[in-house]
Symmetry: C2
């Protein structure tokens, strides 16, 4: 049986536009992965009357209502009481949670005040959902065939609660054969339409498994999904499709889990005990920022130079003056300068790889060269230097992201012997 869900986010701060409803996206995706169809997302403020009307409406149009927000300690936090009142039920204390809160506050030398005690309370008869990163306990209950899930509003509390206790509770409701299993394939070095073209017959003919492409920041992903009783049956059902996609997209498929290319590159460097350094012009530190956002990158990424000016290119990277100045010089945005930057930073950092990006991010032309023209240089210890010329489209930020991802992709090709 297919289950219809509605997501109800409660909070006036959402209606004022102070925060974005990222919870709705996270939950929609999570429910889709379980094979549950989301028909509506609703946002309502911290107002009893409108919240009760929203619950009544959602009960009519959904089998499962997932609430986020309104479980906190203040008088504005209405969700638990509103659901209880709608169902004609009371509120009861969940003693194990209360004791946990009391111990936590005692450890801080503080007394547990009434408002915090409220966070240990459940709608009468509800299953408690543990909160591993905060105080408010979650609620799960089924009344007259409608399922209610009450989750906290802060994403760092809501997400682990959904992924753990709430998902376990939902999977029991669905029964084993209904659970969606999926593999996320991540691609770099190729655009969304080009990748779709490579897989178009598979996408058109799909019934089971299903194949869904997603655009990511400067990258592309494809989710391959099937419903199955367990992981083993899922693997069997997914195998043929995955093998065919792998065969067609080998040069671009960098991970079979949902991680960005910088994570794959850092992991390869660490595993191969190799190191990289960066010389960036138009990307202005973005590649370094992406690499250092990966925990553990300190073992693989030795350092980088952001060389916006020719003076810095010459002084810190050793780019020869004759490449940059003079009427017939190739200029800062050129194949020769990209190579010299990559070699310069590799030598300065004494790393195995030196990666360079130089180009025109816009909005204006530079050196009379068009916006979007980008060179990616790759220097490698004891190997000849390679340079790739690109013509990227998009606005300034788009060009910077695409150029950064392309630089990481070139490094990935070298690390995996796919060049």
């Amino acid at each position: 049986m297919s289950m219809r869900a509605e997501i109800v986010a409660v909070g006036t701060e959402l209606l004022l536009g102070q925060i974005v409803n990222t919870n709705a996206q996270f939950l929609s995706r999570g429910l889709a992965e379980l094979g549950i169809d989301v028909y509506y997302q609703t946002v309502v403020g911290d107002n009893s009357e409108r919240l009760l009307a929203t619950i009544e409406l959602a009960r009519k149009r959904a089998d499962l209502i997932v609430f986020t927000g309104g479980l906190g300690p203040t008088l504005d936090d209405l969700t638990r009481d509103a659901v209880a009142s709608y169902l004609g039920r009371g509120i009861e204390m969940h003693e194990p949670t209360l004791r946990k809160l009391e111990e936590m506050f005692a450890g801080r030398g503080a007394a547990l005040i009434e408002s915090n005690r409220r966070q240990a309370m459940l709608v009468e008869g509800a299953t408690p959902l543990r909160n591993s990163t905060g105080l408010a306990i979650g609620n799960a209950l089924t009344v007259n065939g409608t399922h209610y899930l009450l989750l906290p509003g802060p994403p760092r509390e809501m997400k682990p609660m959904f992924e753990n206790d709430a998902s376990t509770w939902l999977k029991k409701l669905l029964g084993p054969a209904e659970v969606l299993h999926s593999v996320m394939l991540r691609f770099a070095g190729i655009g969304e339409s080009a990748l779709e073209d490579m897989l178009i017959d598979l996408i058109r003919e799909q019934t089971d498994p299903t194949i869904a492409p997603y655009a990511k920041e400067g990258e592309v992903a494809v989710r391959v999904s099937t419903k199955a009783a367990d992981a083993e049956e899922a693997a069997r059902k997914l195998d043929g499709t995955l093998t065919e996609i792998r065969r067609r997209t080998d040069r671009f498929l960098y991970a079979e889990e949902d991680v960005p290319i910088e994570t794959a590159v850092v992991q390869l460097l660490v595993r191969q005990r190799r190191t990289a350094s960066l010389a960036e012009s138009c990307t202005g530190g973005m590649v370094a920022e992406l690499m250092t956002s990966v925990p553990g990158s300190a073992d693989a990424f030795l350092g980088g130079v952001v060389s916006y000016t020719n003076a810095v290119k010459m002084k810190l990277l050793g780019v020869p003056r004759e490449l940059l100045e003079g009427e017939n010089a190739p200029g800062a945005v050129s194949e020769q300068t990209a190579a010299a930057m990559a070699e310069g930073v590799r030598a300065a950092a004494d790393s195995d790889f030196g990666v360079a990006v130089t180009g025109v991010a816009g909005p204006a032309l530079a050196e009379g060269k068009p916006v979007g023209l980008v060179y990616v240089g790759l220097a490698e210890r004891d190997r000849p230097t390679r340079v790739e010329k690109l013509q990227l489209s998009g606005d300034r930020e788009g060009i910077r992201i695409r150029a950064s991802k392309r630089a990481l992709y070139r490094l990935w090709l070298a690390l995996t012997g796919r060049e």
Copy 2:
């Protein structure tokens, strides 16, 4: 008269969690700025029956319904037809838009196909809203006291349409005295609660103007608003409150418009014809990335070094070995190294300022020093070098953002003579 609004986003991709509903936040904030209260946000899929039910429901609970999405050329784009059908109206061609599309396609040497012609169509009797960044025209109409606004889904088309033709249309509905005028004040170097403490009596006593604090990425903002007939009356009503806030927060108030600190810093550098360079350890290129994200930064930001390793600190920044190695060395995360990094990059880039960040972003300790310990160094031509020691809280990403914003704040203090 206060107007109640509902935002209806149409698109199955939202219900699948493929994209975040940032449009709802943008519109909620924009409507709040106009003094319009948003009571509900709803997301519905590309399904005629559920879309019609959503329109009927929104009409009952709102005076103004703002739709986003579903104006495109494909058969999945249902919003215009659904609204027309709900109101018992036809669809009519907007000839000026059609001619614009025909010219555009002719310019590309392509014929205008039927599906694109649909994008020039309006609900019968609607006011057209120009699309400056895309093809689909927007619709505005009032029927039986309910106002309908139909906007495209892609944010880069929706936002300019809302800010231009749609806002003009709404302001006419509201009448001049109802329009909210506001000033966004941006602060750095101070947290949200500390700023609230400084303004707490003003916030508590507020009636008109209203004062609303917002948390931004590593920064804080305060919006001061009033309703007025025109900009002149608004300025008069806001003046006293703004003067008092300025007096109390002078050291932290860096802009009276909604821009991040990096924009303020780059503008000051350009205006003062001064230059800066960066040496980053724990922030890994984030400060450089922020500065270079500001158009025009090439005139002010000469370059930077991301020095993750001691070897790079010594080689490219000239940090003395005795600061980094040996049992009694202060180490990479120290006041002395922060100063040496700032002076080293300033000398290498020959810039007016050299800014350095070194610290422990976590998740693990480094050199036995605690996560969150960060030093910000500021070297200046012909002036003594200053170093600030910080103990920041948060996860790895949070510490990196706070440290980056703090480094920019130090530079702002120096540029404005507020140190």
